[in-house]
């Protein structure tokens, strides 16, 4: 009987391990590239005060926590991550808050922020209203390794208390990472140098936060954070015509692509006999559920109409977990 009980206990332990779980150790080796929300390379090294710069922002979650990691250089500077997840509380105006006042106004109500000065561990503050914050750091697990890698675990039940489900159905969490200066006049300072995602910084003045990263951990509306690693990538591809007549009416082939996950999209036109790439139509990031339109007009990368014959449209959609490749024929008549 005891043996059976131990087996059940063991199975419970093994199978109840949350998916996508991150160890808060200041190392990024348990994160994958799919978790990187700073997909746009323009955001890297875009700081006005280099080498201080936000280099990487990673997000994932499991059934218990939301995890955020930030790779940042900030010497003798602070960093604040502002969170917005509840429209009915918090404050849009943080110009009078008593802690870490960096003269920030936000288009979304800020419910929580994590603030840290270089070389320190930092604190979490709940925004009660525009003039009152509470230090609630003891609810969170977080670390700062080598003064540049921050890993934070935010329990869902702290972000969304008093819920019958783990989180509200269709919950959205918005956040923005800001580099901030020290206190300059009295007990406040300013956002300085860089934000991720990019916002217009009006140093030394009030900064209005308009751009946020948005995550949707419950897309299936069951009140439980989705295990997105189990999400199968569905890709819809529509090729308008298999015949392309560059001098005729049908002088282009439209290619429409829609996926349900954030992915990298590469579309190439190849000559099947030689395998030569005659044209790279697109090599770019593709947002989930965003219908993208591309076309090929029968010209190669040098603008010259290709020879008569059959070509292959090679469509590759991939992320760190999945790789989808599909070939479609198209014929150029000339």
């Amino acid at each position: 009987m005891k043996f059976l009980f131990l087996i059940i206990l063991f199975c419970y332990y093994v199978f109840s391990t949350p998916y996508n779980t991150i160890t808060i150790d200041g190392l990024l080796n348990d994160w994958d590239e799919k978790n990187d929300v700073m997909s746009d390379n323009k955001e890297i090294n875009d700081s006005q005060i280099l080498p201080n710069d936000i280099k990487k922002v990673l997000v994932t979650w499991d059934k218990k926590n939301l995890y955020i990691a930030v790779d940042v250089s900030h010497n003798n500077m602070g960093m604040i991550i502002y969170f917005s997840y509840d429209e009915t509380s918090g404050s849009k105006d943080l110009t009078e808050i008593p802690a870490w006042n960096r003269k920030v106004v936000s288009e979304k109500p800020i419910n929580l922020f994590y603030a840290v000065w270089s070389g320190q561990r930092g604190s979490f503050y709940k925004v009660n209203n525009s003039k009152e914050v509470s230090d609630i750091s003891w609810y969170f697990t977080y670390t700062n390794k080598n003064n540049n890698i921050y890993e934070l675990a935010l329990p869902w039940n702290i972000l969304f208390p008093y819920q019958q489900t783990v989180l509200p159905k269709n919950a959205k969490i918005h956040f923005v990472v800001c580099l901030v200066g020290g206190d300059e006049a009295g007990s406040y300072g300013y956002v300085k140098g860089d934000t991720a995602p990019d916002n217009i910084i009006t140093y030394p003045s009030t900064t209005t936060l308009r751009n946020f990263y948005t995550i949707k951990p419950d897309q299936d509306s069951d009140g439980v954070p989705d295990d997105y690693h189990n999400v199968t990538t569905n890709i819809n591809i529509d090729i308008s015509s298999k015949l392309l007549v560059p001098y005729g009416k049908n002088d282009r082939t439209e290619i429409k692509v829609l996926t349900n996950t954030n992915s990298q999209l590469v579309i190439k036109i190849l000559e099947p006999q030689t395998g030569n790439v005659v044209k790279t139509v697109v090599d770019n990031y593709l947002n989930a559920n965003e219908l993208k339109n591309f076309y090929w007009d029968g010209k190669d990368d040098f603008g010259k109409i290709v020879s008569q014959g059959l070509y292959i449209i090679n469509i590759k959609v991939f992320d760190s977990k999945q790789n989808y490749v599909k070939n479609y024929p198209v014929c150029v008549i000339k």
């Binding site: 015949l243 014959g309 059959l310």
Partner: protein
């Protein structure tokens, strides 16, 4: 006998040949697409197939698993009193664009020298309502000539394709030319069960490969084609059946798999 000589002469005199898309069989593809030096029942090189048996040979490929794209051919070849004769019908295309190829090949051997000729008839069919099309169908004739000279274990091949530079027109503004090609190749029979192939085509790279006969019935083929793509495959040969399989790997397009089945009688 007199008729056969006239027929052979006709083929050489006509000198019209033509090849647009190369529809190789798995035997050729697996050995690095060395179409000149690898002996093949479709008579791709008519100077290099001197079969002692009648054979019907069917091949199929869905190139790189491309949706709706098919490549297939069926051939019949037979030994004659003098030389060998082959007939092949091939198809390459999709539902709205079809390329048909019909070949008649003849090869003859005299001492160390083999000669071959292939008449090819090419038809393109396009399913569209475009007004600028001259016609929905265009056809053209062409001819290949090939030679082989054997010295000990070496076989030296030369082939000239599309010598007449066939032209066809699908739309009014443009004439499509099929440029002639010149290929030279060497086959070296290293051992009784090991054959090595190397070929060089005018203005393309060198292709090379080998065929290794492990047992009487099973052989492995491998090579690199003239575009640098690795190829491999195998063949199983029994008294009545020929089964061939090949794979060509492209870093972007993926795997191009072909298989073929031949029946000898």
């Amino acid at each position: 006998m007199r008729n056969k000589i006239i027929f052979t002469s006709l083929i050489f005199l006509t000198n019209l040949c033509f090849s647009y898309i190369d529809i190789f069989t798995p035997k050729i593809i697996a050995a690095g697409e060395n179409f000149l030096t690898v002996s093949d029942p479709t008579f791709f090189n008519p100077a290099n197939f001197l079969s002692q048996q009648k054979i019907v040979y069917f091949m199929y490929s869905n190139p790189y698993f491309t949706s709706g794209l098919n490549k297939t051919s069926i051939s019949f070849s037979t030994p004659l009193e003098i030389g060998n004769l082959g007939v092949t019908a091939s198809f390459y295309g999709i539902d709205v664009y079809k390329e048909w190829y019909f070949f008649i090949s003849y090869g003859i051997n005299y001492k160390n020298l083999s000669l071959g000729s292939k008449i090819k008839f090419f038809v393109i069919n396009v399913d569209t309502n475009e007004e600028i099309l001259v016609s929905n169908q265009s056809s053209v004739l062409g001819l290949d000539l090939s030679f082989c000279y054997n010295i000990k274990n070496f076989f030296v091949f030369l082939m000239m394709t599309n010598i007449n530079t066939p032209e066809y027109k699908l739309i009014y503004q443009n004439v499509n030319k099929i440029e002639p090609g010149y290929v030279i190749g060497i086959r070296y029979d290293l051992y009784k069960n090991v054959k090595l192939f190397i070929e060089k085509q005018y203005n393309t790279g060198v292709s090379y490969g080998g065929e290794f006969l492990f047992t009487k019935n099973f052989c492995f083929r491998s090579g690199v084609n003239k575009y640098g793509k690795p190829c491999f495959g195998f063949g199983i040969e029994t008294k009545r059946l020929d089964i061939d399989f090949s794979t060509k790997i492209d870093s972007v397009l993926g795997w191009d798999i072909s298989f073929a089945l031949g029946y000898k009688f």
